[in-house]
């Protein structure tokens, strides 16, 4: 019995790895897309907007199945065309992380775009007047202030992302949800194992909420809080 709990606990590390790796991809893609949407280049605005719109309109699961099964088939066809007779399977970790990263990149881009727009234009102009380069303006003026505006949306996306990692169990990655289902099938006691997994997720989300609140307090130092009575 306790062996199953232990294996689910180990699976939680896989879930955490999926979540963190997807987050890294999502943040990178989100920043890039936000920059593209705010740029003056028409084509990049269209491409970025289309990406953000389409990705937010398709369920994670459908895209994950598409990447996993379609990717495997595409890769094998490619290998065949190159004359190789070996067949490969796409690693479910890569497929899952790629899908979640691409989807949450679209959500992140919305958050980041809003955050960049929330910074008064005068700030960038003032920095320009000081002779800063575009790179300097971004890293010294925009980015530090953006964090504050982006944090609430970022927190939301992260919490949704953590929960979305459960989907990788459906393409066969041995994350905690997959292991919980296996333990359920083996012992015919699905209730306790699923409840345990749910609790682990709750621990993850609670820890994140706590950490993000600390971060939020730090980045909104010195801003005026208005309280309606």
């Amino acid at each position: 019995m306790s062996g199953y709990y232990f294996s689910i606990l180990q699976g939680s590390l896989v879930s955490a790895a999926v979540a963190l790796t997807s987050l890294a991809i999502a943040v990178a893609l989100g920043l890039l897309t936000a920059a593209a949407r705010l740029s003056k280049n028409r084509t990049s605005v269209y491409v970025a907007t289309a990406y953000a719109t389409v990705m937010r309109g398709i369920p994670e699961l459908v895209l994950m199945l598409l990447v996993f099964y379609g990717g495997t088939m595409g890769l094998n066809q490619l290998l065949q065309m190159m004359g190789s007779s070996t067949s490969v399977d796409i690693n479910p970790f890569l497929a899952g992380v790629f899908t979640l990263g691409v989807i949450y990149g679209a959500y992140m881009s919305e958050t980041f775009r809003g955050a960049i727009l929330a910074i008064p234009a005068g700030q960038a102009e003032a920095a320009q007047a000081f002779g800063m380069s575009r790179r300097q303006i971004f890293f010294r003026i925009i980015l530090p202030q953006m964090v504050r505006y982006a944090l609430p949306g970022f927190s939301n996306n992260w919490l949704v992302l953590i929960k979305a990692t459960a989907l990788v169990s459906l393409i066969g990655l041995h994350d905690m949800t997959y292991l919980a289902k296996q333990a359920s099938a083996a012992t015919r006691q699905p209730f306790v194992f699923l409840l345990f997994t749910g609790l682990l997720f709750l621990v993850f989300t609670s820890l994140s909420l706590w950490g993000l609140r600390k971060l939020n307090d730090k980045y909104s130092l010195g801003t005026r809080q208005v309280v309606l009575l």
Binding site: V192, L194, F201
Partner: protein, 239 residues
């Protein structure tokens, strides 16, 4: 790419069935979840401390765990409990727990209720104090204020966020495909994939259908917002 396979009558019919199931799941869980959310939002903003804590704990747990786990818990997990086992063959409400559609709708409803309740509670808390004072000055009692002033205005202000929630829910219904024997749009695609081994066509087509439904829903909410949030729009100069 073999798109003609997708457009064979029987496969289109399968997708059609999937769309109907998906929309059925969506609207029934929005209805049940919406009613639950209304009561929970009131509980979250009223002064009954224990009820507030209880509902707060409920929304915390349901918003902090994946829907997939909730679906599994209801569909597979409850069957482990002897108390349910003793009843689900005969005793009335419990017989539903053998029905996959019921379990899916239950999980989706409980999930969306938690999100919607918090959203609505936020809007209720942010009601302009002046509106409430004015209503009190008219001699309205607590529930009259709630029913004719606070709630109507809170509903309106929740509309944009609720639109997002509805679109998220549409995508979330795809998890119902994890419950066997329920053919929603995603499981329809999986069946077509398994039968013809055409992953790109099968899932891309389903993705396209989801996208169309998303656009339709977001268009609908734009219209609703234009109608019900007209008083918040910037005043145009040429009226």
């Amino acid at each position: 790419m073999k798109w003609d396979v997708i457009f064979q009558a029987e496969n289109l019919a399968l997708y059609g069935e999937g769309v109907v199931t998906t929309l059925g799941l969506l609207f029934s869980s929005l209805l049940v979840g919406g009613v639950l959310a209304l009561f929970m939002a009131i509980a979250l903003t009223e002064r009954w401390k224990w009820l507030r804590l209880l509902v707060g704990a409920y929304t915390y747990v349901f918003r902090g765990t994946p829907l997939l786990i909730q679906v599994y818990l209801i569909y597979y997990g409850l069957g482990q409990l002897e108390w349910i086992q003793a009843r689900w063959d005969e005793v009335w409400p419990w017989t539903y727990f053998k029905d996959p559609a019921f379990c899916a709708v239950l999980a989706l409803s409980l999930n969306t209720a938690a999100y919607t309740a918090e959203m609505l509670a936020g809007a209720i808390r942010e009601t302009n104090p002046g509106e409430i004072e004015a209503a009190q000055a008219f001699g309205m009692n607590h529930w009259q204020v709630m029913w004719s002033v606070t709630l109507p205005s809170a509903f309106r202000r929740t509309l944009p966020a609720y639109g997002n929630e509805v679109i998220m829910m549409l995508q979330t219904t795809s998890l119902a495909s994890a419950v066997p024997s329920l053919i929603d749009l995603t499981s329809a695609a999986s069946r077509v994939y398994a039968k013809f081994y055409l992953p790109f066509e099968a899932y891309l087509f389903a993705g396209l259908m989801y996208l169309l439904m998303t656009f339709a829903l977001s268009g609908m909410f734009k219209l609703l917002e234009r109608r019900y949030l007209a008083f918040l729009a910037p005043r145009s100069s040429n009226v």
